[in-house]
Symmetry: C2
Subunit: 223 residues, 2 copies
DNA sequence: CGGTAAACGGACGACCCCCTCCATTTAGCC
DNA sequence: GGCTAAATGGAGGGGGTCGTCCGTTTACCG
């Protein structure tokens, strides 16, 4: 990334923003996002750009002008769902029972993963140089850490649980979501059921293999 | 597949078999398989055929003549590892402690998954029309079912464990193996640690979401 | 040593996806 | 209604993989 010339008050939005667009352009922008969400949910994040354009009823050029990079499209397409995740975390933090909050947020995010094949990738993908998610993600990590600490202090979450185990859960769930086909939802629920039982503090168990130190921003679809 | 003309004593081996080959051809065949295993382990199952050929030091045509379909190459390349899995299961069945056997086989297979990016795909991929694995797989399913039953009867495995939960475990582990990059091995160990704790029979826990009824032959890399 | 069939490998056409360019259409304003 | 800049869409060059064809090389046998 070339250095910027010292000053630029609005951080040079690569996306002009939906508001500054002409009416027909804004309409098309929405159609593209809708089509992208549908396509991603159905076929995963690898659908050709041209397929999304076709589904949206626009030309490829239109799509490319609005979303110059694949990442920018994905970012926009999943903003809503990511906000939903953030909301779930906020709710969990407000729950007087941190363990219940912990369970709820994990169940919810995993269910979303299982329902939408593209969501996982959007969720786990790192967006190099893209600051749109960075703040959101940092906030999520903080909130998660807080929730985990509280749940431990309440004696409900096992003490050797590591925050990175949340990522572990998401990755595992991703594997199930991608591999289990039509049974993905049921399989995901069952996996999360097993894991939550294991995460719950209980009578002393043997030592666990050490945490893998996974971080949200070090992960990608295929490593 | 066109109907066959009623009789063909040797079931028309698409692979002439390593033995009937000329010396140089057999040599090349081995080189191809070695290269395929390396490439799959490093880059997953999607490496271009040409890359494997190059790595093996042969032309594409040679590879294609020996292994007409991608599947046939994968099948051959992972035969050894699959045999190792089968061996692990056999050992587990011989273990006087079925729970220990169960843990060992799950740990071993998951470790293999984590170590070799291609192995999972080979392991889970369905091979339509390919009978090479069918017998092996049926035997594995039987053995697994037996192991699970014994472990339950020994009171070590929770009664509501379902055989399909083994597949669930493999899918989850696959997600971790594919997504955790360099930490895949550690992350996989930790996941399996959590799951095995959960699988272990213990003080009554709440009801689990129902099993997803996953079967080995209904799974594929991306469903 | 010589002949033959097996084996080889590179080149090639078909296909798909990415992304840009440009001639044409259209919305919004006077 | 007419003008202008924004917006559009499809064609096309570039890159990559697949799988086959065919002229050349090589192992094996007599």
């Amino acid at each position: 990334m070339p250095a910027q010339t010292s000053h630029n008050p609005p951080p040079v939005t690569p996306d002009p923003g939906p508001d500054a667009l002409r009416a027909d352009a804004r309409e098309n922008r929405e159609r593209i996002l809708r089509a992208a969400r549908e396509a991603y949910a159905l076929h995963g994040i690898d659908v050709p750009i041209s397929a999304i354009a076709r589904r949206a009823g626009v030309g490829v050029a239109t799509l490319y002008r609005r979303f110059p990079t694949r990442t920018s499209l994905i970012t926009e397409a999943f903003t809503e769902q990511l906000a939903e995740c953030a909301g779930a975390l906020d709710e969990a933090l407000e729950d007087p029972d941190p363990w219940r909050g912990f369970c709820t947020v994990l169940r919810k995010v995993c269910a979303m993963q299982a329902a939408d094949r593209g969501f996982t990738h959007a969720f786990l993908a790192r967006f190099p140089g893209d600051t749109a998610y960075a703040g959101e993600r940092d906030r999520a990590e903080e909130g998660l850490a807080l929730l985990v600490r509280r749940a431990k202090e309440a004696g409900a979450l096992r003490p050797d649980f590591d925050v990175s185990d949340v990522v572990l859960t998401l990755l595992a769930n991703n594997g199930v979501a991608n591999g289990a086909g039509p049974e993905a939802a049921a399989a995901s629920r069952r996996l999360v059921g097993y894991l939550l039982e294991s995460f719950r503090a209980g009578p002393a168990t043997g030592p666990l293999p050490p945490p893998a130190g996974l971080e949200l921003d070090r992960l990608g679809g295929t490593g």
